[in-house]
Amino acid sequence: MSRIGVFVCWCGENIARTVDVVQVAEASLQFPGVKHAAHYKYMCSEPGQSLIRDKILADRLDGIVVASCSPHMHLKTFRGAAQAAGLNPYLVEIANIREHCSWVHQDKAKATAKAIDLVRMAVAKVRRNNALQAIKVPVTKRALIIGAGVAGIQAALDIADAGYEVVLVEREPSVGGKMAGLSETFPTMDCSQCILTPRMVDVGQHPRIKLYTCAEVESVDGYVGNFKATIRQKARFVDIKKCTGCGECWNACPQKKIASEFDYGMGNRRAIYIPFPQAVPARPAIDKQACLKLKKGVCGICAKKCAAGAINYADQDQLLEEPIGAIIVATGYQLYQISAQQPTAELSGYGEYGYGQYKDVIDALQFERLVSASGPTGGVIQRPSDGKEPKHVVFISCVGSRDNAKGISYCSKICCMYTAKHTMLYKHKVHDGQAHVFYMDIRSGGKNYDEFVRRAIEQDHARYYRGRVSKITEENGKLIVRGADTLAGTPVTIEADLVVLASAMRPATGSDDLARKLRIGYDQNGFLSESHPKLRPVETNSAGILICGACHAPKDIPESVAQASAAAGKVLVMFSHKEMQRDPEIAKINESTCSACFACVRTCPYQAAEKADVRDRAGNLVKRTARINQGLCMGCGTCVAVCPSKSADLEGFSDQQIYAMVESLL
């Protein structure tokens, strides 16, 4: 019955050199259902495609096989050609006779025989293809953005400015993320807060941004265009609607010596606090671990001081639901812990650097606070142990990064640049001081980046030693740094006053949990996985969920911002349509044969297989069955393999198609 057309591509010489394309075309005419076979030099070119289109129309072909390169290369192209000629695009199959044949075999006879087999399989398959229609689903035009660091802020503003509502969820009491705590930024040395805080204010005031702080995403149900996010608003103990942010409460709080998270322990805060003066919202939160009222039932001074009556010691976590169409994950990073103790068994620390043991060994983010004008020392560089101005500071790069022995094989990418920046910031404040840098390589690719590093070395006279530090010890108030200069071939010992460790970037805590909730992938290091490293860099493999910023991989501010805008752009593309189209190559259940064992429901990685009732017109239960939620199914077909009665099947890779392919090899 079928009228299949076979189109064999020469790919110039690429295929024709090792595969006898004429013989392949002739042989395919013998396969059941083949009406027409042709060969041409470049099937993907316009004349090639028009040859296909013409033949579809002339011979009323009801399926085509293109024997050419990988389907990953040109399946879309040929589907488009088919569609242009009025043939359903899902009635197209590719026989991969280039990557899987002509390019990997030398013997022309064998390669040709194989190519004929590959075409035979594709013909057997395409005869059983179904004409499919793209699945249309409605779109809720609201975006959820998880994480309000610079990436999340950028994406939120882009989407909100385009006219759509944004729900922005941040687990800290303020937006701003890591960037809010940085001093100045490479390579322009502009002040981090000066560029970020206006955008934070925009986020706080934007009529279309609904901001949740002290909040986390509890769960996400539904599917692209139609998610339902449940957000846990954690107890803040301050009603931010009543609060005016006057500051009476935190100024009166007797708990003065709580290590500030924002200052990475370099400074203190109260039990009721705003993390930093420019916080958005400029409303305090109570730390329930530190508050005397909440811990012991005594004190209560803040409530007495609060004229607005905003303090609520009985506050509790609340779960709030938000309808959402698309999700952007921008959960950022944390620094690798340098001390010997590590959060996971795969990682090990640097006991030999004495971090946590010697007060004057600090990490890069702590140094940022030390040089920041808004920091605990007001930007005066004082070492933590005795407040003295350090005259020799050693910076060590690649602490954790690129060190398989410590469990992190990747490069954290930004450390070379910020270490150069640190040496300059230091030199600009301590003119008679000397910065020393131990490095493995200097990686300064980027606009004006290498020039920046040269400036640190040539103008600000930072001393760079290519080599590792083996040990740091403390003697008479000095840190003795023992390392090597491998270029000079000599050991180096520096008596330092302060040591700054550029420790590796790791995904923020809990990002793997979040990834599991969202059913998106993450790599062995915990960074979230993009759908394609080149062509789909901000998409994930779950439709409607995008990623940006350092949760994806170590990256600097410009890259995070660019990626955030890219993710926002993808969301806006989605929101520009009334309905969304989804790939129809998804699973289906034959409900009349389904026995409702729900093996598919247990197995489905996307919770797309659901339990359902079949009822008659009167509403009586006829039977139970599994059913595929078309919005959620990603088409993996795992349900098909676990279905004992083969009631589950997968469009595009149905049992009929696959068995026919295999049986064609008999």
Binding site: H100, V104, M121, C636, G637
Partner: protein
């Protein structure tokens, strides 16, 4: 394909591979021009999770001398967990085949990522050469030829 003009036994190998890792690994072997024997016929499926055990039996029924099942490394599954589900089934299924006396040297499993064109080449070459040494899977083809009993 079973008889080559030279008279050397050419084994028939069927490879069930996932679309996102091993298929792309085979593509990479192609773009890198990594040569391997022309005996393999690849069946592309979206995920190793889609590969059901009946397909392995079907492979032997159509005269495969060896079968390869291959997909993404654990943790790399395009669909997050299809390969984990598949792995669990294979653990049990291999035991069943072994009990029934199938030749376990003809059933191969491999994780081959999209970046492992070389591994694809090595695994395929190895399987074809090993199968060539073992000869045709006569034991099972005899079973399949038997018409009535």
């Amino acid at each position: 394909m079973s008889a080559h003009p030279t008279g050397v036994f050419e084994p028939k190998v069927i490879a069930y591979v996932c679309n996102w890792c091993t298929y792309l690994g085979a593509d990479l072997a192609g773009t890198s021009r990594l040569e391997y024997p022309a005996n393999v016929r690849i069946v592309r499926l979206p995920c190793t999770g889609r590969i059901d055990f009946n397909l392995l039996i079907k492979g032997f029924e159509v005269g495969a001398d060896a079968i390869l099942v291959s997909g993404c490394h654990p943790g790399d599954c395009h669909y997050t967990s299809g390969n984990f589900h598949a792995r669990r089934r294979w653990i049990l299924f291999r035991q069943l085949l072994d009990t029934m006396g199938f030749d376990m040297n003809r059933i191969h499993f491999a994780w081959i990522s999209a970046a492992e064109g070389k591994k694809f080449q090595h695994v395929l070459t190895d399987i074809v050469e090993q199968t060539r040494r073992m000869g045709p899977y006569a034991a099972y083809s005899k079973i399949c030829e038997e018409v009535s009993c």
